[in-house]
Amino acid sequence: MNCEKFETIVSELARNQMMEADIRAEALAHTFKCSDCSDRMRDQKLLSSGLSALVADMNRLQAPPQIEMKLREAFRQANQVTPFTVRKRSHTRYWLSAIAAMLLIVMGLAMVKIQLNGIQEQVADIPQQTMPISTTGSKGVTPIVNNVASRNDSHRVETSRRRPAASFYAANNRKRPVRNDEAVASNHVTREVATDFMPLGYMSAASFQDGGQVVRVELPRSALAQFGIPVNIERYNERVKADVLFGTDGLAHAIRFVQ
């Protein structure tokens, strides 16, 4: 054995680690022949004894007893609280979720109901119009509806209230934007098809700002021809319904035909 080989095993030799008997014998024999390696061996043994002394010195060391008390307390808490808490949490979470879902549903329904009520109240709260009605239509005109402001007939009132705007669009050859609520009222209540309002004489859009009133009348079908609407000759003697728009001045401002 040479010093290089000895160097690799000297620490294990000094620590009395298990090794092959031949190698151990060779290493020990080498220390008798080489003073340096003998010194290395001595240093390593001194180090081992110093470490052993340190081990012996610290052998009685242990953690303070209060740590065990704290840990036992933590152990008890972990084993008592955790299962109960988990179960309680899971139930609580379940019920909270259910309540939240119920609240959302109730709030949603309430919102829908409030919106519907709001629409109905808007319609019902329109003040009754008390304008004088002038029946200065042409000869043979038969007024059919004269109480358009009746509170019970809200859809009709709604219709009458919006007519001036409709005629305004008609008078200016503009495409009138379709309002959903009006369309609904038209489709579900009146179920009628009507032409746009056609102006009677000269008027301006400003004349409609003060509102007005619509009166349903029946006219001879021949009256259609006066407004450039084609007339079926076979039904020439029949009568046709029309809505006449009266302004606040009591004069007829526009007319539309209804089927």
Binding site: C3, E12, D43, M58, Q62, A63, L71, A78
Partner: protein, 205 residues
């Protein structure tokens, strides 16, 4: 039913996980000293050793299920956890104690052997203190091997399990660690210049 003292660490851990506080107490009593000493030897700080011991066993209470018997013993598992906590604290807080301000952590005086004469005791205490300081100044990777193999007196296999490395790595680190310790302790011994030169030259007989 067998007494707790006859149960293995793994059996105690299983009982502990089923809520047996006495099993936990038995396991703690069996392993706390090793964990505490390891933390103290690695850090030189009594307070840190206490904290680490507490945290290791709290970890065992909370996450004892992560122990895998196929990977090693409960002891090695606890030492591995302790090692992680110690290294984290040392790296995070730079808590390596100042060697000159270590009077409150000096246990040697408290544990003096009553059978030794005052002079012997003084020499012995000085030697122990020198070795302890030298160990604390080793780089971490050598220190932990020296602590586990020399101070905790674990074999290479157990140390390799704790450090999660190969046995050959443990051997080489221990060899290097001891060499470093000798270098640190050597100035304490009188040595001639010639002897130093001879050692460095070596021989190839």
């Amino acid at each position: 039913m067998r007494p707790l003292s006859e149960l293995s660490d793994a059996e105690l851990l299983r009982s502990m996980r089923e809520g047996d506080e006495e099993a936990f107490g038995a396991l703690y009593q069996r392993r706390q000293a090793g964990v505490f000493r390891f933390a103290w030897q690695m850090s030189g700080s009594h307070a840190l050793a206490e904290d680490v011991t507490q945290e290791v066993f709290l970890f065992l209470i909370r996450d004892g299920h992560v122990f895998d018997a196929e990977k090693g013993s409960v002891s090695a598992f606890l030492m591995g956890v302790a090692r992680n906590y110690v290294l984290r604290k040392l790296r995070g807080e730079r808590a390596m104690i100042s060697l000159g301000e270590d009077s409150e952590d000096d246990f040697s005086a408290d544990l003096a052997d009553p059978e030794l004469s005052p002079l012997d005791d003084l020499t012995r205490t000085e030697t122990i203190e020198n070795v302890r300081k030298a160990v604390l100044t080793l780089p971490e990777k050598y220190r932990e091997v020296v602590v586990l193999c020399e101070l905790q007196e674990l074999n290479y296999k157990e140390t390799a399990e704790i450090l999660e490395c190969a046995i050959g790595t443990v051997r080489s680190r221990l060899h290097r660690g001891r060499a470093l310790l000798l270098e640190k302790l050597r100035p304490a011994r009188p040595e001639t210049e010639d002897a130093t030169e001879l050692k460095s030259a070596g021989c190839f007989a």
